[in-house]
Amino acid sequence: MEPVPHILVVDDDREIRDLLSKFLERQGMRVTAARDAKEARKLWPLGRYHLVVLDLMLPGESGLDVARWIRTQGDTPIVMLTAMAEETDRIVGLELGADDYLGKPFNPRELLARIRAVLRRASGEGGPGVKEPPAKVIRFGGWLLEPARRRLLNPDGVEVPLTGGEYELLQVMVERANRVLTRDMLMDLLRGRQAGPFDRAIDVAVSRLRRKLEDDGRNPSLIKTVRGGGYVLAATVEKA
């Protein structure tokens, strides 16, 4: 991990900007804050940012426009702050290439965990520059995953609802299909994304996921158990 991550916070509320900066700085990060899209563009060349925390509701130019603009500048990860139930904003944001999102009002510690997870993934996968554009749909073994909508469709096109934990697990495994993932690796990949009792229950989550994928628990063909403690998603993965 980089020694001191540099975060750009874009939010129109001065209090939130200041408090968030102070909070993140206390966690050992360097923070630059911008009031709106104009100021963000002005500040952009002045530093090399590792991550942008972007409020979608900005006066004037919206957060979506800023996200689109940042995407033209490079692959700096974006964590979006969205309004409580604005499903469409979230989908558009994720399709534009935001790396994660949080509803407002957010829990600061959860925001911190997500920032760290996104930074870790970005550095773990070669850092800025090599990240491919986000896939709209991912096909594996006849199933379809829509990352923006966090939706899983079965081969008949029927939506199969997943819990947050199941979705994260499935996405992590689909992104690393045909690679053996030990429980520790899975926990590491998922930590920060899913708070709570998830990490003690990888096996439970896998068995729930198998049931939803209609994968026979005794003789699974999609998510296989590897001797010695690990799982592998055995399928050809197509991204579109």
């Binding site: 139930a85 499903e87 009002p105 939506e159 609802p161």
Partner: protein, 505 residues
């Protein structure tokens, strides 16, 4: 399995307002009622028409018969009067007489003398005046007696033992002298009368007229035509009524759609003027409702948005508090506030309408909700379970339906410390049925429906514990009703409450 009660049914039945014995005769639908009234009217008109026709035909038949009889009677008289006396009987026997006319030569007159003159209708109908007034004098009868016949049979034909003045009157009436007029005048029996004509040699030609009963329905083509006409008119009536009622049905459908979706397309404003007016009024009303809902949604969204910022600030501020205990409590309070705002916004916005309907696996959705609940309440995990099929595809709005089921499960966990979900697939006209049972104290019967009122909590003392705003069940009901289903609360026989939700396929 008992089906869900539909509260509106009894009201509709009561509103019909007919005494029970007639209820089954009076159709429920407007089309049925209109058709029934029109057909009844049509039947009346047809019956009246038929009666007029029959009476007319009756008159005509009688007239024709009477004319024939009178013509033949004259002919007969002329024949008899001209014939030599010894050949009269033979000639009379040879003459073929029309039905209703019989003639005989007797020594006695059939009609007694001194009777009242025949009433004018009879004279006109049979042209009796011609008996006396026409032809050369030597051919005229020496005496003419015309009178009513009594009941048919021997008394009439017997040579009368009675005094002449009494002859021909019905027995038992002889004391009432003037009453014999009644036979002609009171009810002129046009069909039954006799005439006695005296020949020059003193013989009497007795004619008896008994008109055949008229047969107004004799024509088969008429009856056929009448049946075809009636059937055609009835069929046209039914068809026209159906067509006329169609816009009313369209209006009802539109109102139904509007109830589910405020943004349903407007009614086409076409057709008869009344329908156009109704459709226009309906569309105006829908527009007003839309504007009202829109205003309310905007207002709530604004409040929600404005509250988000201070809560976010407070959360950040809490992170700078040194007292861990106080910070924990403050964050809990903030979480509660946030949940209440989220629930209020969700209830008020009803944003499920904006979500598209997709095919989704209801079993996976239920399991997702239950797994989330079990993860959030590990101490209750053993009292959270699922029973039902392994797969059940329904058409629904995924996010909204998940919220509805999560609310039912959350309510069961909060008040009943258990959530046992049972799913029964649709079949035999039954909708999909989803039941959530808990182990709590149940709900007082009087409150079973009240729990669906917004901000209603049965035990206020519990509100802190559950942290709800009293909107979970109202939201669940709104969502399920928007799907065309419903949810009601029941008490289980063994204790505990049971939420019963239905969802049409």
């Amino acid at each position: 399995m008992d089906s869900l009660p539909r509260p509106e049914r009894p009201e509709i039945a009561a509103r019909r307002g007919l005494p029970p014995p007639l209820c089954w005769l009076w159709p429920g639908s407007l089309a049925g009622r209109t058709a029934l009234v029109l057909l009844l009217g049509l039947t009346l008109v047809q019956a009246a028409g038929l009666t007029i026709h029959a009476l007319d035909r009756l008159d005509l038949q009688r007239f024709a018969q009477a004319r024939e009889i009178s013509a033949r009677a004259f002919g007969l008289w002329n024949t008899v009067a001209l014939a030599p006396p010894e050949r009269r009987a033979q000639m009379l026997a040879d003459v073929e007489l029309p039905p209703g006319l019989t003639a005989s030569l007797d020594e006695q007159a059939l009609v007694p003398p001194g009777g009242p003159p025949p009433p004018p209708p009879i004279i006109r109908l049979f042209r009796l005046d011609r008996l006396q007034g026409s032809g050369p004098v030597r051919f005229r009868p020496r005496e003419v007696r015309v009178g009513p016949l009594g009941p048919p049979g021997p008394p009439m034909l017997l040579p009368s033992p009675l005094p002449p003045a009494e002859f021909g009157r019905p027995p038992g009436r002889r004391e009432h002298g003037p009453m014999h007029m009644g036979d002609w005048a009171g009810r002129p029996r046009q069909g039954e009368w006799g005439a006695s004509l005296r020949l020059a040699d003193g013989q009497w030609l007795n004619l008896q007229v008994r008109l055949q009963p008229p047969r107004p329905w004799h024509s088969e083509t008429f009856l056929m035509a009448f049946a075809v006409m009636t059937f055609t008119a009835g069929a046209l009536t039914l068809w026209a009524v159906r067509r006329l009622i169609l816009p009313v049905r369209a209006l009802a459908d539109a109102a139904d759609r509007l109830g589910r979706d405020v943004n349903a397309p407007p009614l086409p404003e076409s057709g008869p003027t009344e329908i156009v007016r109704a459709a226009a009024a309906f569309n105006t009303m829908a527009e007003r409702i839309r504007r009202f809902v829109g205003d309310r949604t905007q207002l709530l969204a604004a409040i929600g948005h404005d509250l988000r910022t201070p809560i976010t600030r407070l959360r950040l501020r809490a992170e700078f508090m040194d007292d861990d205990e106080q910070r924990r409590k403050m964050l809990a309070d903030l979480a509660e506030m946030e949940a209440m705002i989220a629930a209020t916004l969700a209830f008020a916005r009803d944003d499920s309408a904006a979500e598209p309907t997709v095919a989704l696996d209801l079993v996976a959705l239920c399991r997702t909700v239950l797994d989330d609940a079990a993860d959030a309440h590990p101490e209750l995990a053993e009292r959270i379970d699922y029973a039902g099929p392994e797969r059940l595809v329904v058409q629904a709005r995924s996010v909204a339906l998940k919220r509805a089921i999560a609310n039912l499960v959350g309510n069961a966990l909060a008040y009943g410390l258990a959530a046992r979900l049972r799913l029964i697939p649709a079949g035999n006209g039954h909708p999909v049925r989803l039941e959530v049972a808990d182990d709590g104290p149940g709900i007082p019967p009087a409150e079973l429906e009240n729990v669906f009122l917004p901000f209603r909590r049965l035990e206020p003392s519990r509100s802190r514990e559950t942290g709800g705003a009293g909107l979970g069940l109202p939201i669940a009901r709104n969502i399920l009703r928007a799907h065309g289903g419903d949810v009601v609360m029941r008490n289980r026989p063994g204790g505990g409450a049971l939420a019963v939700a239905t969802l049409p396929m």
